[in-house]
């Protein structure tokens, strides 16, 4: 079936050039080649007529058989078949040059020609010719001008003027079957097409391959294939029918043509067609190249994207690791600071235990309290998920309890009450707040009070509208607050370090109240 497919492709190219499709025909069924064996009579006949067999090629039946000025001789698809037959038989036909197919048929009718090539069998021709099996089969099509309504079949040509080549089989067929069609006979296929192109005829009927060949060669761009004549061209090699031996010889010779030889002939003319359709071929080539380029770019983008994803994942993992290491380092620093402060606390505790002088003890207790205030901040930071901030609502009550407990169990005598709003502050704020609480607790612990029972210290923390904080301390039963050395430090810490203000109310009988007002963003942005 290669032959059929190959020819179909050839015709697709032809049809597309004429802006139509679906009018394709096929070659005859492919048959296996028979070995060429001539009997004795045939061989003797061939020997006798060698160099005497006349043949007149059609000069205008391109692409099947035509005269090519550049080649200086006859060429064409069917002509190649005939050359193959010549080779197989070992003969060379004597060429006779005629100007038209009409003349060729006239010579054949008069028995002057032994062989007529590229012809379709008709009843009229069968009177004087015998035919081999068809070698090529192709549809005859109806061609009209592009600006005219389409005509699908022969019935649509009733009363129309149709240009057809004289003595063609299809002309003979149409004349017999459709007398209502006004046939204008011309000498060649080109003349038929020109008649339509210049509006001298309404339509032309010629085979599709020839139509394609000529429209391209002659640049007849105003024609279109409109319909099918439903009478295909079946091209064969014919011989004069009064020489039955020649008919037999030709039948054997054409039967000996192998599928490979048929394909070689078709390939030759397919290549010709490819050359003619170079633009189309180039278009497909560019299309394929563009698709290839797109695939390459898409592949590159995909690879690049994957590489970026991999790099991001690697960099993220690296940053995560670095962050974890830094977190561990910060935790360890906090822990070691806390440890160092605990060592100082322990030293002070031992000194206080061994020191008999009450004033010295009190001074050292003040230092101890402040150190505990700092130590507790670092302990809170150690356990916090944020390494630089701590919640005063958590820190201050714990510190106050620690200080009261550290003072020989004063927690049992002084009850601690607190109402603190949550306030996450940096340790630059928490430590001075701790100092202030430790000083105030020191005042409570060292002072004298109206009644020991029911003593209570109250600590409050509130947010203000201006994003500030108010820390309140009240010890209402304190009749005479102590005056530890750190009293000045209290004011200094509030006003200098916290950039805030502190107010004392310290009157006999009303106890001690202290209010500290400060902004929690004093150290914002500090490292």
């Amino acid at each position: 079936m290669r032959t059929k497919a190959g020819l179909s492709f050839f015709l697709v190219g032809v049809a597309s050039s004429l802006m139509v499709s679906g009018l394709l025909s096929c070659s005859p069924e492919e048959k296996p080649a028979n070995p060429l064996v001539l009997d004795q009579a045939e061989s003797a006949w061939l020997q006798e007529y060698r160099g005497k067999l006349l043949f007149a090629p059609d000069p205008f039946y391109a692409p099947f058989e035509y005269h090519d000025e550049q080649l200086g001789g006859t060429t064409g698809l069917m002509h190649d078949y005939l050359r193959l037959v010549e080779e197989k038989l070992g003969i060379r036909l004597v060429r006779v040059r005629m100007d038209s197919f009409e003349q060729i048929l006239s010579l054949a009718r008069a028995r002057h020609l032994a062989i007529v090539n590229a012809v379709t069998k008709t009843p009229e021709r069968s009177r004087f010719l015998d035919f081999t099996e068809p070698l090529v089969e192709i549809d005859n099509v109806i061609l009209v001008r592009k600006d005219r309504p389409p005509v699908a079949d022969l019935a649509g040509l009733e009363g129309r003027k149709v240009a057809m080549v004289k003595d063609y089989a299809v002309t003979e067929y149409v004349r017999g079957k459709h007398p209502e069609i006004m046939i204008e006979t011309v000498a060649t296929d080109l003349q038929a097409l020109l008649a339509v192109s210049y509006s001298l005829a309404d339509a032309a009927i010629i085979d599709l391959a020839t139509a394609s060949w000529l429209t391209q060669k002659q640049g007849l761009s105003n024609l279109k294939v409109s319909g099918n004549a439903n009478y295909p061209v079946r091209l064969a090699i014919a011989s004069r029918n009064d020489w039955p031996v020649l008919t037999s010889i030709l039948a054997k010779a054409t039967a000996a043509i192998t599928p490979e030889e048929r394909q070689a002939i078709l390939n030759k003319w397919l290549i010709l067609e490819d050359t003619q359709n170079d633009t189309l071929k180039r278009f497909y080539l560019i299309l394929v190249a563009l698709a290839g380029a797109f695939l390459v770019v898409a592949g590159f983008m995909l690879l690049w994207n994957r590489q970026l994803t991999w790099q991001i994942a690697r960099r993220t993992a690296s940053l995560d690791q670095a962050l974890a290491e830094k977190e561990t380092l910060v935790l360890e620093l906090h822990h070691r600071t806390n440890n160092a402060l605990n060592v100082i606390i322990s030293m002070l505790q031992m000194e206080i235990s061994a020191q008999p002088d009450q004033a010295s003890c009190q001074a050292m207790q003040g230092i101890l309290n402040r150190t505990m205030a700092m130590g507790l901040v670092y302990q809170k930071l150690d356990g916090a998920s944020r390494f630089t901030r701590t919640d005063l609502a958590d820190y201050i009550p714990e510190l106050a309890s620690l200080l009261l407990e550290a003072h020989d169990g004063s927690a049992a005598r002084i009850r601690l009450e607190h109402d603190l709003a949550s306030a996450n502050v940096p340790y630059d704020i928490a430590i001075p707040c701790g100092f202030i609480i430790s000083e105030l607790v020191g005042l409570s612990l060292s002072g004298t009070r109206t009644g020991e029972a029911g003593a209570a210290v109250s600590i409050t923390l509130k947010h203000t509208d201006d994003h500030g904080l108010i820390l309140g301390y009240a010890d209402t039963t304190l009749s005479q607050p102590g005056d530890p050395p750190g009293r000045n430090l209290l004011t200094m810490t509030a006003e200098h370090q916290l950039q805030g203000s502190i107010q004392f109310n310290q009157k006999p009988g009303t106890g001690l109240t202290c209010t500290l007002h400060f902004q929690d963003d004093v150290y914002e942005g500090r490292i």
């Binding site: 822990h335 605990n342 030293m347 505790q349 235990s353 620690l402 550290a406």
Partner: protein, 121 residues
């Protein structure tokens, strides 16, 4: 009089704790700075309570030492540490200690705890 083993690598902190415990009427064993030393003292002297720091000298930490001691002694273990992160506290609490006290220590709290544990002075 109860005997208390203080396990603490910081000498001054160890001395201070021992001093305060003694002032409160307890007997203290010589303080241990390493886990090995703590295990040895616990085996030899069978203390009534053990005050165990977590960060110790020479490799073995307080949690590992406590786990070994728990194998042969039922004495209550009180962990003392500056660490409050979840990873370490959960490891320590898996040994079911008597308490986990965070530094800076409140000795008053420690004294009350020993009383609750009936570790009498």
């Amino acid at each position: 009089m109860s005997r208390i083993l203080v396990v603490e690598d910081e000498a001054i902190v160890a001395m201070s704790l021992c001093l305060q415990l003694q002032q409160a009427g307890h007997q203290t064993l010589p303080p241990a700075a390493t886990g090995d030393r703590a295990i040895k003292l616990a085996m030899e002297h069978k203390p009534d309570a053990i005050l165990m720091d977590i960060n110790l000298a020479r490799g073995m930490n307080g949690i590992e030492a406590g786990r070994t001691i728990r194998g042969f002694s039922a004495a209550p273990i009180i962990f003392t540490s500056g660490y409050t992160n979840e990873d370490i506290t959960s490891q320590a609490l898996s040994l079911q200690p008597a308490e986990y006290l965070v530094k800076p220590l409140s000795f008053h709290r420690l004294k009350n705890l020993l009383a609750e544990l009936q570790i009498r002075a």
